[in-house]
C-alpha cells in the first residue's frame, strides 16, 4: 500500500502529471490514498472528474480500471460472473471418466465422489472489474464513472466493496482484498439523480466547481505547443462562453482540442471555422459568434 503521501506532496505530484488540483482536491485524494476511503466526485460535466482519477493513477503509477455505469447495467457485468460455457465444457469432457469412476458404486458413494468436483471454484470465475480490483494481485485505481446513470439496485451491490473491500460470492465465499493491495476508489456523478444515502455515507465527498479563468489559463499553458498569449486568449474566451447560457457548455478537454486545432490552422484562416471543435450545436454556435466572445483571440 502506498503510504505517506501528504497533501502537499499530492498537490505537487498532481501538477507534475498535468492536473491542476485545488486544496480540496488534494485533500480528497489524500483521503483516498491514506485513509482508504472511496471518494465521490461531483461537478459539472467537463469539470475534470474522470481526469482526476486518471491523473491519480498516473501519479501513483498504478493501472486504472474504469467502469462506466449506464442504465440497464447489471451486477454480473461489474462484479463477477461464472464462465458458464467453461463449466459446461468441463462437464462434457469429464463425463466419461466420471461414468467409469461411478460404475458399480452406490448412490451415496457416487454423491460423495461428485462432491470433489468444484464447479464454482476460482477457475470458473470471470473477474469483472471490481473483482479484479479486489483480487489482490495488483493494486489498481478503480474508477466507477457516472454512478448516477445506473439504477439504484446497482448502488447497493457496491456497498460491500466500498465498505470492506470484499465481495461475497454465495458459491465460493467472501473474497477480501489484502490490505496492501486495496484499490483507490473514485466514484463520479453528474447529479442526474440523487444517490442513495447509504452510498454517500461510505464515501468522502468532493465537489469540483467550475474552473475560473486563471485556473483555465494555467491548465492550457501546460500544453506543450501552446504560446502564453493563445492560452490566455482561449481562457478569456472560454470564460465568456461559459456565461452565455449555452445548451452544452464546452469543457476543458474540448478547449484543449480547440487550442491545438487553432495551432494547426493556417495563419489567416477565419477563427469562426475552428468552432467546430468547441460547440456541437447550431444555436450555440450562432450565440457565440453573435456575442463576440471570439474577439479575445483575434
Amino acid at each position: 500500500m502506498i503510504k505517506n503521501y501528504s497533501t502537499d506532496k499530492i498537490y505537487k505530484e498532481l501538477q507534475k502529471v498535468g492536473y491542476f488540483p485545488t486544496k480540496q482536491i488534494s485533500f480528497a485524494v489524500s483521503a483516498a490514498i491514506n485513509n482508504g476511503m472511496p471518494v465521490l466526485v461531483e461537478g459539472e460535466p467537463g469539470a475534470g472528474k474522470t481526469f482526476l482519477a486518471k491523473s491519480t493513477a498516473a501519479m501513483l503509477g498504478l493501472p486504472l480500471l474504469r467502469v462506466q455505469f449506464y442504465e440497464g447495467l447489471t451486477a454480473d457485468k461489474i462484479l463477477y460472473d461464472y464462465d458458464y460455457q467453461k463449466q459446461l465444457l468441463t462437464i462434457e469432457s469429464i463425463k466419461t471418466a466420471l461414468e467409469n469412476n461411478l460404475l458399480g458404486k452406490s448412490i451415496n458413494e457416487a454423491i460423495e465422489l461428485a462432491k470433489d468436483i468444484d464447479f464454482y471454484g476460482k477457475d470458473f470465475l470471470i473477474r469483472r472489474p471490481i473483482l479484479e480490483a479486489l483480487s489482490g494481485e495488483q493494486q489498481y485505481v478503480l474508477l466507477l464513472d457516472e454512478v448516477d446513470k445506473s439504477s439504484e439496485e446497482i448502488e447497493y451491490t457496491l456497498l460491500e466493496t466500498l465498505d470492506e473491500f470484499s465481495i461475497t460470492i454465495p458459491q465460493l465465499g467472501t473474497i477480501t482484498c489484502p490490505k496492501d493491495k486495496r484499490p483507490i476508489v473514485f466514484l463520479t456523478s453528474n447529479n442526474y439523480r440523487e444517490l442513495s444515502d447509504a452510498l454517500k455515507r461510505r464515501c468522502a465527498y468532493l465537489y469540483i466547481p467550475k474552473k475560473t479563468e486563471s485556473e483555465m489559463f494555467e491548465i492550457l499553458k501546460q500544453e506543450a505547443s501552446a504560446s502564453e498569449t493563445l492560452a490566455k486568449g482561449i481562457a478569456a474566451c472560454m470564460n465568456k462562453i461559459n456565461h452565455l447560457n449555452l445548451k452544452q457548455n464546452p469543457s476543458i478537454a474540448e478547449a484543449k482540442n480547440w487550442m491545438s486545432y487553432i495551432l494547426s490552422m493556417e495563419e489567416d484562416a477565419d477563427i469562426d471555422l475552428s468552432l467546430c471543435m468547441l460547440v456541437k450545436n447550431e444555436d450555440d454556435r450562432d450565440k457565440i459568434i453573435i456575442s463576440g466572445a471570439l474577439d479575445e483571440l483575434r
Binding site: 486544496k23 480540496q24 483521503a31 439504477s151 447529479n191
Partner: protein
C-alpha cells in the same frame, strides 16, 4: 477544547440538515491523525476536510463555510456567557459572605447589649425582691394627714407638684407611676424635706414633725418602688432591643434569601448550558438552510415555510411573487422529483433468460445450451405531449404546468412537445426550448391571441390528430390541461379517442371543481371516458399528480 467545539459543530450541522454519521466523524479525525502536517487549528485545513467528510451535495459544500462562521460566532458568545455567569456567581458568593459577616456583627452586638441589660435586671431584681409598693397603710396615712401635709411646701415647684400628685391620688393608689421623677429626684426631695424639718424644729414648730417623719418613710419606700419600676423599664428595653434585633435579622435574612434565589437561578442557567453543551446542542437553530428532517418525514420535497401557503392556494389566486417562489421551490427540488419520476418512467424489468431462444440455440450445439440468451429489455423511451388550454379560465394553471414540465424536460428521452390553444392549436415546443424559464411562459402567452376568443376544443383536437399525429406514438404520455368547457362547440371526441388509443397513456387535468364537472357547458364526463381525469386546482395537487402518475 478544539475537538470539543468541532464535535459541537457537527451536531450544529446536523441541525441544519446535514446527515453526518458517527463513522464520518471518526473518519474525519482519523484523517487528521494520518496527516501529521495538518492541524486542527488551521481553519482552512479543517474546512477542507469537513467539506470532504460531511457534505454530500454541492449545496452543502456551498453553505458549509457560512455555517461554520455562524457557529464560531455563536460559540464565542456562548463561552462569554458562561464566563459571565461564573463571575456573577463569584460576586454573589462574596455578597453572601459579606451579609453573613454583617449578621454576625449585629448579633454579637445585640448579645452584648442584652447581656448587659439582663445583668442589670438581675441585680435590680435581687435588691427589690422584698420591697412591696406603697402599702395601704401608707396611703391611709397620706389620706388622713392630707390637710396637714398640704401645709408642707418646698422651694422647688416640681417637688410641690409631686406632693400634690401623691395627695390627689390617695383614692386610687396610682401615684408616682405617672409622676415624672426618678430615685435621684426623690433623694433630693428627701434632703429638702429634712432641711424643712430642721427649719421647723429650729423655729420651735413641732406640729408637723410626725407627719414629716412618716412622709420620709413614704418617700424612702417610693424611691425603692421607683427602682422597681425602672427594672420594668429595663425589661421593656430588653424587649425593644430584642425586637430591633429580630427586625434587623429579618431584613438580612431577606437579603440573603434574595441572593440565594439569584444564585440558584444562575446555577440553573449554568447547568442548562453545561447540559446543552454536553448534548452538543450549543447553538440554537434559528438559522436553517434546508431542513432534512422535513423531507425524511415521509415527504420527498423540501418545503420552506411559506411554500405551504401557496401550495394549497388555488391557481387563480396566485400572485406573481408566489409564482416566482414556486419556481424556486421546483428548481430546488428538481432532483427529488426527477429521481422519483425516473423510477416510474424507467422500466423495472429484470435481467431475464429467454428460454425459447436459448433452447433454439442449444439445438446447434447438440442439445447443450452453450449460449444463454437474455430477453431484450423493452426500450422505454417515453415522450411527453402536452396540450394546454391557455384561455382566461385556465391560464394560471397552464402556466404552472408549463413551469413543471419545463424543469422536467430532460427526463423524457423521447422528447417533449407542447401545444397551447384557445381556439386553434399552436406549437410552443420551440419557445419552450429556446428561452429561459422566466421568459418562456410569458412568451407563450404572448404568442397566442387570446383577446376576444373563447375556448374551443374541437379545432385543436382535430389539428392535433390530423396534422400532428406523428408526434403521438405508442410511447407517448399525453396530457390535456383545461376545464373542458367547450362553449357549446362540437366536442371532437372521436379525435380524442384516436389519440388516447395510440398513446401509451392519456391524462386530463381538469382545473374545474369536481362537483362542477358536467354542469353548464362542461363536457368533462365525455372526455373522461378516454382520458383519465383528475382535479388539479393547486400546486400541491399538481405536484402530487406528477409524483404518482
Amino acid at each position: 477544547m478544539i475537538i470539543d467545539s468541532l464535535l459541537h459543530f457537527t451536531t450544529f450541522l446536523q441541525d441544519n440538515g446535514y446527515s453526518i454519521s458517527e463513522n464520518k466523524i471518526q473518519q474525519f479525525f482519523s484523517f487528521f491523525a494520518n496527516q501529521k502536517e495538518l492541524s486542527y487549528t488551521s481553519e482552512s485545513d479543517v474546512l477542507c476536510v469537513m467539506e470532504m467528510m460531511f457534505c454530500s451535495t454541492p449545496k452543502e459544500v456551498d453553505s458549509l463555510r457560512t455555517l461554520f462562521h455562524i457557529f464560531i460566532k455563536k460559540y464565542k458568545e456562548l463561552v462569554k456567557e458562561k464566563e459571565d455567569f461564573k463571575s456573577q456567581t463569584e460576586k454573589i458568593k462574596q455578597k453572601e459572605t459579606e451579609l453573613d459577616q454583617k449578621l454576625q456583627k449585629i448579633s454579637d452586638k445585640n448579645d452584648a447589649k442584652l447581656q448587659k441589660l439582663k445583668e442589670n435586671k438581675e441585680r435590680l431584681k435581687s435588691s427589690v425582691q422584698n420591697i412591696s409598693a406603697l402599702s395601704n397603710k401608707d396611703w391611709n396615712f397620706l389620706k388622713k394627714n392630707k390637710d396637714m401635709l398640704k401645709k408642707i411646701s418646698f422651694q422647688e415647684d416640681s417637688m410641690n407638684q409631686l406632693m400634690k400628685e401623691l395627695l390627689n391620688h390617695t383614692e386610687d393608689h396610682l401615684a408616682a407611676v405617672s409622676i415624672n421623677c426618678d430615685t435621684n429626684f426623690i433623694e433630693d426631695m428627701k434632703k429638702a424635706l429634712t432641711k424643712e424639718a430642721e427649719k421647723r424644729v429650729m423655729n420651735g414648730d413641732f406640729s408637723l414633725l410626725q407627719q414629716m417623719n412618716a412622709l420620709m418613710g413614704i418617700l424612702k419606700r417610693l424611691s425603692k418602688n421607683l427602682e422597681k419600676i425602672s427594672v420594668n423599664k429595663i425589661e421593656q428595653d430588653i424587649e425593644s432591643q430584642n425586637n430591633w434585633f429580630w427586625r434587623q435579622k429579618e431584613t438580612i435574612e431577606k437579603q440573603k434569601n434574595a441572593q440565594k434565589n439569584e444564585m440558584q437561578r444562575i446555577q440553573d442557567e449554568l447547568s442548562r448550558i453545561m447540559k446543552e453543551e454536553q448534548q452538543g446542542r450549543v447553538v440554537c437553530k434559528d438559522y436553517s438552510v434546508f431542513h432534512r428532517r422535513e423531507f425524511t418525514n415521509g415527504k420527498n420535497a423540501v418545503y420552506s415555510d411559506n411554500v405551504l401557503d401557496y401550495m394549497t392556494k388555488e391557481f387563480e389566486n396566485l400572485t406573481k411573487s408566489d409564482q416566482i417562489e414556486i419556481e424556486r421551490y421546483l428548481r430546488k427540488n428538481l432532483t427529488k422529483f426527477r429521481t422519483k419520476m425516473n423510477r416510474r418512467i424507467q422500466s423495472t424489468s429484470r435481467h431475464e433468460i429467454d428460454i425459447q431462444t436459448t433452447i433454439q440455440n442449444a439445438c446447434k450445439t447438440g442439445g447443450l445450451p452453450m449460449q444463454i440468451c437474455y430477453k431484450e429489455k423493452k426500450k422505454n423511451r417515453p415522450n411527453l405531449v402536452m396540450i394546454l388550454d391557455v384561455s382566461g379560465s385556465c391560464k394560471a394553471a397552464s402556466s404552472m404546468m408549463l413551469t413543471f414540465m419545463y424543469t422536467l424536460q430532460e427526463l423524457f428521452p423521447g422528447g417533449c412537445h407542447a401545444y397551447a390553444f384557445v381556439n386553434s392549436l399552436y406549437d410552443i415546443s420551440d419557445i419552450m426550448k429556446a428561452s429561459k424559464i422566466e421568459d418562456a411562459i410569458d412568451n407563450v402567452l404572448n404568442a397566442i391571441p387570446r383577446r376576444g376568443v373563447y375556448s374551443n376544443y374541437y379545432a385543436p383536437l382535430e389539428t392535433l390528430w390530423k396534422e400532428k399525429h406523428n408526434v403521438i406514438t405508442s410511447d407517448s404520455i399525453v396530457f390535456f390541461m383545461g376545464d373542458a368547457r367547450n362553449n357549446e362547440n362540437k366536442s371532437g371526441i372521436e379525435f380524442l379517442k384516436n389519440i388516447a388509443r395510440r398513446a401509451e397513456s392519456c391524462f386530463w387535468l381538469n382545473t374545474d371543481r369536481l362537483e362542477k364537472w358536467g354542469t353548464g357547458d362542461s363536457i368533462a364526463y365525455l372526455y373522461s371516458e378516454y382520458a383519465k381525469m383528475y382535479e388539479v386546482r393547486n400546486i400541491a395537487e399538481l405536484a402530487g399528480f406528477i409524483e404518482n402518475f
